[in-house]
């Protein structure tokens, strides 16, 4: 009988208990995959949008509310001539409840600006010019709103014809209603106002020069902030809260998992005092007994992790189809998340096995044999 066989036999000795413990761990790991997957997906969706459009620096006033506050679009004229600025474009973005659909992104974009460049027309056409009172829908937004080319979408009090369905290559773009900036400004009563200025910087600009540019923008727009696109996700309060909430909830699930495995392993050790006594009597070192318990609990963690990752992935896929999530974000199911979750499960197993392992190593062979 090999060392590994002893470990496996230890686990299958009580199949129901082992099974229930596995279910406990897998639920915890499924929660980690689902919650962290949503939070990472949220970050990734925004990051991908900025990347796809080719935005290097974002200027906004993030104080208060769901969306950044609006400011005068004349600010763009002051930013454009700054060194290292290759191109700028302004955007008015609003989260609006449209017809009977959940809240969605409505993006009014400066006509001719680079934010229009990467949109691929799937059906219909793009607006003819910046004054045409029409919208194009991201393909997910079209699905959510159940609209096709030729229908109308009502934004605030104005009905606007849908002239195109587009693929924006990022879930945030695909889940949005896109129209020209002056049209959205008029419809929402925000004439002359925007809440983002997107900047492309000249190739070859160093990090220090970008930092200097951001500082310069802060000088001319003290109530706002210029942020490198890659930092937008990391510094946003919303992302930080989502990350913290997902990890703290996951932590609770993990702690429950640790307690479950610890309980199972302690029971295993108590039930096998006689066996452990024999193993000690035939010359097993205490270290090996501890290793046996740790391997058992690690294996329990690994199996629970594999099961949990499958459950979590399934849960995320289901969640992705719900109206609240569909079109807004793309849950992250990257190998990094799956491997991290399995590693957490194994760690849970090992940590849970430490105390039972220590208890087993303190057994006296003679007493164990007599017990």
């Amino acid at each position: 009988m090999t060392f590994f066989t002893v470990i496996v036999r230890g686990l299958i000795r009580r199949p129901v208990r082992t099974g229930l413990t596995l279910v406990g761990i897998s639920i915890g790991i499924a929660a980690v995959v689902a919650l962290v997957g949503m939070a990472w997906g949220y970050e990734k969706s925004i990051g991908k949008q900025l990347d796809v459009i080719g935005i290097d620096v974002v200027v906004s006033n993030m104080s208060g509310g769901l969306m950044p506050k609006v400011f005068d679009d004349s600010l763009q004229a002051n930013i454009k001539p700054l060194p290292q600025v290759a191109d700028t474009t302004s955007v008015l973005m609003q989260m609006l409840s449209i017809e009977d659909a959940p809240m969605m992104m409505v993006s009014g974009r400066e006509w001719g600006g680079f934010t229009w460049d990467k949109l691929k027309v799937l059906e219909g056409r793009m607006p003819k010019d910046g004054t045409e009172e029409v919208v194009v829908l991201g393909r997910l937004a079209a699905e959510v709103l159940k609209k096709k080319v030729g229908d109308t979408v009502q934004i605030e009090a104005t009905e606007l014809p849908v002239v195109g369905i587009v693929d924006g290559q990022a879930v945030v773009e695909n889940g949005a209603i896109l129209l020209s900036l002056p049209v959205l400004q008029a419809v929402t009563g925000n004439e002359g106002k925007v809440n983002f200025i997107d900047i492309r910087i000249t190739p070859g600009t160093t990090k220090d020069q970008v930092a200097a540019l951001c500082a310069q923008i802060k000088g001319i727009f003290p109530e706002g902030r210029a942020m490198v696109a890659s930092e937008v996700v990391g510094t946003s309060q919303g992302f930080r809260v989502a990350r913290a909430m997902s990890w703290s909830t996951s932590l609770l699930a993990i702690v429950v998992g640790v307690l479950g495995v610890m309980n199972t392993m302690l029971m295993t050790v108590f039930e096998r005092t006689h066996e452990i006594g024999i193993l000690l009597a035939v010359g097993w070192k205490r270290r090996r007994i501890v290793a046996m318990v740790l391997w058992e609990s690690a294996l329990l963690g690994l199996l629970g992790g594999l099961l949990g990752v499958s459950l979590g992935a399934l849960g995320l896929k289901l969640l992705e189809t719900t109206p609240a999530v569909h079109g807004l974000l793309e849950p992250d199911l990257s190998p990094k998340l799956l491997l991290t979750s399995i590693a957490i499960a194994v760690l849970v197993g090992v940590v849970s096995g430490l105390y039972p392992g220590w208890r087993s190593s303190r057994l006296s062979p003679s007493l164990a044999l007599h017990g």
Partner: protein
């Protein structure tokens, strides 16, 4: 049989849970509980937030689980300590677009209201109609202009946990000169965010006439915590109205014309 080990998994689990509880529930500093009048004054001040515009999605269900009917509304309001004016207009659906009403209330006087139904039907609301639901919902006209936190009698009626938040229960009763169809109103206040998480309005019979539950609290454009989604039920009725506010703006300026009967007839965005 000798005891070789001293296993007590439950004790281990309990200790671990206790440690966890200590980790996640750090000691909360004891804050002085404001008196009832002080609490009411703060809430009343928060309500009188000047000029604002809000988008509201209103979902009505005849009963829980029944098909819903949705309205998208635009709200303009001007609230000062002396007076309240609110204008509600239906933006969507198309067949109800333009339906609107205007409510006014000054000091302790009774509220007055005008309803407009396109193309040209304008009607004043009688005192009894003020207790009817707006656009056929469970929320009454008078609920939109009654500031019960400004009533004379305010008392604390204990504490209760609502959605895991320990709330102060504030009981408000109208004074002699104050007009309301409600005999008293109880509010469950989250003292940290200064937001009511539940409001129960009682008829003179002592029955709950309306109950409003806050289902989500968000920050508005000024960074203040405000109820952003809530549900309204009427006592003895199966219907439910759910409301979701968004895009609240306080950077708007209105003129008297924005709250005139003529303003009922056209929908203009708040600027």
């Amino acid at each position: 049989m000798k005891t070789i080990l001293h296993p007590n998994p439950l004790t281990v689990c309990q200790s671990a849970l206790l440690a966890l509880a200590l980790l996640i529930l750090p000691g909360q500093a004891q804050e002085a509980v404001p008196t009832a009048p002080e609490l009411a004054r703060r809430l009343s001040t928060a309500l009188q937030d000047g000029s604002s515009a809000v988008r509201l999605k209103l979902e009505m269900k005849a009963a829980a689980g029944a098909p819903k009917s949705v309205l998208q509304l635009q709200i303009k309001s001007r609230r000062t300590p002396a007076s309240t004016e609110v204008l509600y207009q239906v933006l969507w659906p198309k067949e109800r677009k333009g339906e609107s009403f205007l409510l006014r209330k000054s000091g302790h006087q009774a509220a007055s209201g005008t309803v407009f139904v396109p193309p040209a039907n304008t009607q004043s609301l009688s005192a009894s109609q003020m207790q009817e639901g707006i656009f056929g919902s469970d929320l009454a006209y008078e609920d939109l202009v009654d500031n019960f936190y400004g009533w004379e009698s305010q008392t604390l009626a204990g504490t209760e946990t609502v959605d895991r938040v320990l709330c102060q229960i504030l009981e408000s009763k109208p004074g002699k000169g104050e007009r309301s169809s409600y005999a008293r109103v109880r509010s469950w206040i989250d003292p940290k965010k200064m937001v009511p998480l539940r409001i129960e309005k009682y008829a003179a019979s002592g029955q709950v006439a309306r109950r409003i539950d806050t289902t989500r609290v968000s920050k508005d454009d000024a960074g203040r915590s405000v109820p952003s989604t809530f549900s309204v039920v009427r006592g003895g009725q199966a219907s439910v109205t759910e409301l979701e506010g968004s895009n609240s703006r306080h950077d708007v300026s209105f003129t008297d014309a924005d709250f005139s009967p003529e303003a009922l007839k056209t929908i203009t965005p708040a600027k």
